[in-house]
């Protein structure tokens, strides 16, 4: 850490290691090092406890110091991400404990902010916070993190959690007016479906500047005095942006799969001998393959290939990837199947894929609820019908 203050005397026993009492607006160090040249046994001891450590609290790794303000010490956060941050991101992206991947709401700072520094407002989802602070390396600014229950900016705004009321509450609760002497807040543009700028002005006196959609443009936004290019106001949905969503799509599936697995093997065992364990296993594996292929086609291929599948309705996109994948499944087992069984496997893959692709609408930044409802009213009855026909054909084929 670059800004550590070393104590004047060497040892921590007896020496006054408490924090300097002089009024200093510079960020205060978290830890105080002791010299390591007087080691008697074992390795050198670590630094002494920080004056900011409190019983029952934990200093987080992304905090590099504290800024003294009229409302008390405000954590100064790092503007680069570290291994623990990346690890947390990967775990959240896998859908593990995602709703707990959040930070405490409140005021934070980057650089050396003062009472004229800009205030940026964001959600308390850790990924949102990380995305913002990593783009603020050359800024002196405040970050007001509001309580969106660990949900990202856009979704929280859609759920009325990133709302006018919540921003007003945080302005008061964290006493922002005692920290800055201007009345401007930079809000992410994607909070606009939850926050009403004119209402916020009325209720708090703060004027909203709508920042860019993406945190990576924030430096540009502040440098250009709030002028943004049109491209910064538009959402994108690139291949990379789609791929990172796939693990979360898949993480929803274990639970329904647990219910389907017994059904898959039981149905596959039914036949002329009433029930055959041998059929349950071998035919069950084939049906399971079709199910897995449906997942691959609907929750992986359809999102990845989204703009290149030449139909608009997501259920149709999934149907097309499902047919393609279903043919592969049928081809793999062709030598062991009669045509009706091959058809059943193809239909299963298609129905599963179509349903899952339709569910991906919730993860995209461009589907309207009116449109989703319209396609669902047509698609769901068809998906159910196709799945039922497939199962009837599959079971019926065993009575050949």
């Amino acid at each position: 850490m670059a800004d550590l203050i070393h104590p004047k005397n060497g040892c921590c026993s007896g020496g006054d290691c408490s924090n300097s009492t002089e009024e200093d607006s510079r960020p205060q160090p978290l830890f105080v090092d002791i010299p390591s040249n007087e080691v008697c046994c074992g390795s050198a001891p670590g630094p002494q406890s920080s004056p900011y450590e409190k019983p029952g609290y934990k200093l987080l790794p992304f905090v590099e110091g504290f800024i003294d303000t009229p409302v008390g010490p405000v954590p100064k956060v790092k503007t680069h991400l570290e291994r623990t941050d990346f690890l947390g991101t990967i775990i959240a992206r896998l859908g593990i404990g995602r709703d707990q991947h959040k930070i405490a709401p409140g005021l934070y700072g980057v650089g050396n902010p003062g009472h004229d520094s800009p205030v940026l407002v964001t959600a308390n989802y850790k990924l949102s916070f990380d995305a913002l602070r990593r783009e603020m390396a050359s800024l002196d600014a405040w970050i007001l993190v509001i309580d969106t229950r660990g949900i990202n900016v856009w979704c929280a705004a859609g759920k009325a959690l990133f709302s006018t009321g919540e921003v007003v509450r945080c302005i008061d609760h964290y006493m922002l007016k005692n920290v800055v002497r201007h009345n401007q807040l930079i809000l992410p543009q994607l909070a606009a479906n939850g926050v009403s700028a004119h209402q916020l002005k009325k209720e708090s006196g703060f004027r909203v500047l709508w920042g860019p959609v993406r945190a990576k443009d924030i430096q540009h936004f502040i440098d250009r005095k709030s002028n943004v290019d049109k491209s910064m106001r538009r959402v994108t949905f690139s291949l990379g942006e789609r791929i990172v969503l796939i693990p979360v799509e898949l993480s929803h599936l274990p639970k329904p799969t647990m219910w389907l697995l017994p059904a898959i093997f039981l149905l596959s065992g039914v036949g002329t001998n009433f029930f055959s364990l041998n059929d349950a296993f071998y035919r069950g594996l084939m049906l399971l393959t079709a199910y897995a292929a449906g997942i691959l086609a609907g929750a992986v291929a359809a999102p990845a290939l989204l703009p290149w599948i030449p139909v608009r309705a997501f259920a149709l996109k999934g149907m097309l990837t499902g047919i393609a994948t279903g043919f592969v499944v049928a081809a793999i087992y062709y030598s062991r199947l009669i045509w009706a069984e091959a058809l059943a496997l193809l239909l299963v893959t298609m129905a599963i894929s179509s349903y899952l692709a339709m569910n991906f609408t919730g993860s995209t930044p461009f589907t309207s609820p009116s449109g989703v409802e319209k396609e669902m009213r047509k698609a769901i009855p068809l998906q159910v019908a196709v799945a039922l026909i497939a199962l009837v054909v599959w079971v019926g084929a065993a009575f050949k």
Partner: protein, 96 residues
């Protein structure tokens, strides 16, 4: 987003030109650049680009914009079908 087009002619978005004061807020908040300010009035430039997020209507100081906002999410809509509008919860189905 030009290559990401969803179903056309479904959006509930409406702009009342009479009530528009030309502040340009809708143009700023729309994530799909649906609006364009021409002179002292906003115009709907790309109606079918609308995803009904509701940002424009919420931020229009004269309530000149109407849209039924919502989440374009199949799992959410299934929940509202089963449990009614109030029963639907995005956090339960983890749609986004």
């Amino acid at each position: 987003m030009e290559n990401f087009r969803y179903l056309p002619d479904v959006t509930t978005l409406q702009l009342d030109i009479e009530a528009c004061v030309g502040c340009g807020m809708c143009e700023s908040v729309c994530p799909h650049t649906v609006f364009q300010l021409r002179g002292k009035k906003a115009e709907i430039e790309d109606l079918n680009g609308c995803m009904e997020c509701g940002a424009c209507a919420l931020n229009c100081p004269t309530s000149a914009i109407r849209v039924t906002p919502g989440v374009g999410c199949a799992s959410y809509i299934i929940q509202t079908w089963i449990k009614g509008k109030r029963g639907g919860s995005c956090s339960e189905v983890k749609c986004c």
